[in-house]
Amino acid sequence: MEPSRDDFVIAIRSAFLKKGTQQRFSLIGLIFFSIIIIVLGNFNFKAVNYLKISIKEIVYRSSFIISVPENYLKKTISVTKEHFELYDNYENLKLEFDTLKQRKVLDEYNILENKRLQKIVDNFYIESNEIFAKILIDKQSPFLKSVVVNKGSKDNVKMGMTVLDGKYLIGKIVEVNYLSARVLLLSDLNSKIPVSIEPGGLQSILSGTGDSHGIIQYQKKEHVIEDNSIVYTSGAGGLFKSGIPVGKIETIDPSLIGNKKVNFFSDFTQLRFVKIVSYKVEK
């Protein structure tokens, strides 16, 4: 037994401690260095934070450049597909436009009345800061559904700011660097936001699934949520302004509780530009 244990120790020592041919760094040295970085990253050391921010700025830009050919290819495929579907899309949009034109007239009255009532209860928010940003990276990982945008603290982007695609909510800012920021998407497993489901005004929590949709959590049996109900932010907890459209309800399996899937209005895989906003109460 003794010689085989010696062989094992020698092989391990040789693998980890000996510097290999043409290797400039020792493996064990780099492993320890990685562990130190992980440990220090947990503490808020200023020097480590600056190092992290610098690495991030370099990597985000490099990743953007390296992804240019791939993005060009994706864009070409998407444009070609759109050309083939142009006529069908035109017909559908014409129909939709007529319906919306009629609805708009009715909505204008409701909007004005709603504004007046919200001002009375001191709950009328206006956009206080609005920043348009370009998506630098949208590499989706199994651990984090996020995108990186090209605006950072230099442009007054702050942690927790709301991120919109048009009028639709897509997420919030979770990391701010000097020239870039990371947006946590609603589809991320760790994303949980208070929502209101209309019609009915049912309050609930929308949770990300790590997939392209979300689910309604903490739903009681007696609450009936119909398909095609619209999910809006509820504004509870002051996390987001109330009434931002998020998505549409779809039932996955009627026999299950928590079976309500939310299809987001915005397609997170097709984001190119986003709007980063913060809100304040109108005095």
């Binding site: 041919t21 492993i31 990685s34 992980i38 497993l189």
Partner: protein, 172 residues
């Protein structure tokens, strides 16, 4: 092709291909590790690092692997240093296998690769869950491990052919 590979400069460029592939796979938006196809994903970086650490360690320097790990962490948004640690552990396992192997065999390498990715991924997920409180879908991770293991066989064959093409030696 022989004429081309004999040219020193081109040969040197071709010998850097593993490094280039590693950095492209880390920095590019499309990632096999999250392919978007349901129940299909694999970690290309693990395969590349294990193969080249085992067969031709001078093609991929530990320093470059460490930097690639840092880049990967930044791009996918996990705490910095974790991927570097995992990549370097894979290098360690591969170096150990190289030291104890007298007669190389693809099947043995393949089985050892399975053990390596199981250990490395376990450390990876333990770190993410316990230290950094990440929520993880275990089914996705399991399929990722299975496909990474299965595809090692194919990729080692492809890398072997490539090496044969540029250096005349077959490593698989």
């Amino acid at each position: 092709m022989t004429e081309i590979t004999n040219t020193g400069f081109l040969k040197k460029i071709l010998s850097y291909l593993p490094v280039i592939l590693l950095f492209i796979s880390v920095l590019n938006e499309s990632d096999f590790n999250y392919s978007g196809i349901e129940y299909f994903s694999f970690n290309f970086s693990y395969i590349l690092i294990f193969y080249y650490s085992l067969k031709k360690s001078r093609s991929l320097g530990y320093g470059l692997i460490f930097i690639a790990g840092l880049f990967n962490d930044v791009v996918i948004g996990i705490p910095i240093g974790i991927s570097s640690l995992m990549y370097l552990l894979i290098c360690g396992f591969a170096a150990y296998l190289k030291n104890i192997t007298l007669r190389p065999s693809l099947t043995k390498d393949w089985m050892f690769f399975l053990m390596t990715i199981l250990v490395v991924n376990s450390i990876f997920y333990i770190l993410l869950i316990l230290l950094f409180s990440y929520e993880i879908d275990y089914f996705i991770l399991l399929t990722n491990i299975v496909f990474t293991f299965l595809l090692y066989f194919i990729f080692s064959y492809v890398f072997g052919l490539y090496e044969k093409l540029i250096s005349g030696k077959y490593y698989a």
